[in-house]
Amino acid sequence: MLELYEGPLHVEEIISRWYGDVKDKNFGAFIPFIGIVRDEQGIDGLSFDIYEPILKSWFDGWQAKANQENAMLLMAHSKGDVPNHTSSYISAVLSPQRKVGLRLINDFVEDFKASAPIWKYDLIDGKRVYAKNRSMPLGGAGLLA
């Protein structure tokens, strides 16, 4: 399941609701990865644009892969502005087996960073500044160059 929110994530609500929804489903391991915006280099926060159609198909592909291992994925992400010390991103794996779960959360989060069509901006003096240096080109980049 993929949830998108305007502004920061309500971490306590999301994690508690997800836990309540899944605890009776006989997964032995529930592993959330919670991203919190760091106060660094003078930013006031981050801001995000998301291209939802491709994000959804990317997520659905990972969900199918997880299901083949009897695991399940959950994800929440912010759109728009997210102040320092609040959360913009949660990914979670549910798995019957610990080792499968630990491998999936690692691989899912790493591929998220490389592939999810989300653009990040630093919030500096009320302006959005594209975080170009921290961004990664998608596969096939430069095709029209």
Binding site: I118, S135, L143
Partner: protein, 73 residues
């Protein structure tokens, strides 16, 4: 006419183009100074699937998207 959208930080209005394939779009863009810094680093999607060949046929209702480098999370 196929539509072209410029995602994320590119900050350019969508446009419509009359083309048969992506080679023709490349030719159109080669004169566009506003895209100079982006073409090297953008991936291309046709109807929300990433593509890796300029020979892809484009139909009149197709949606073409330019996706700059990403950084979620």
């Amino acid at each position: 006419m196929a539509s072209v959208e410029f995602l994320g930080p590119i900050g350019k209005e969508p446009m419509e183009v009359d083309i048969q394939n992506l080679n023709e779009l490349k030719a159109i863009f080669s004169d566009d100074k506003s895209l100079k810094e982006w073409l090297d680093i953008c991936a291309i999607a046709v109807n929300d699937s990433l593509v890796d060949s300029l020979d892809i046929k484009i139909k009149p209702d197709d949606k073409i998207s330019l996706l700059p480098p990403v950084c979620g999370g």
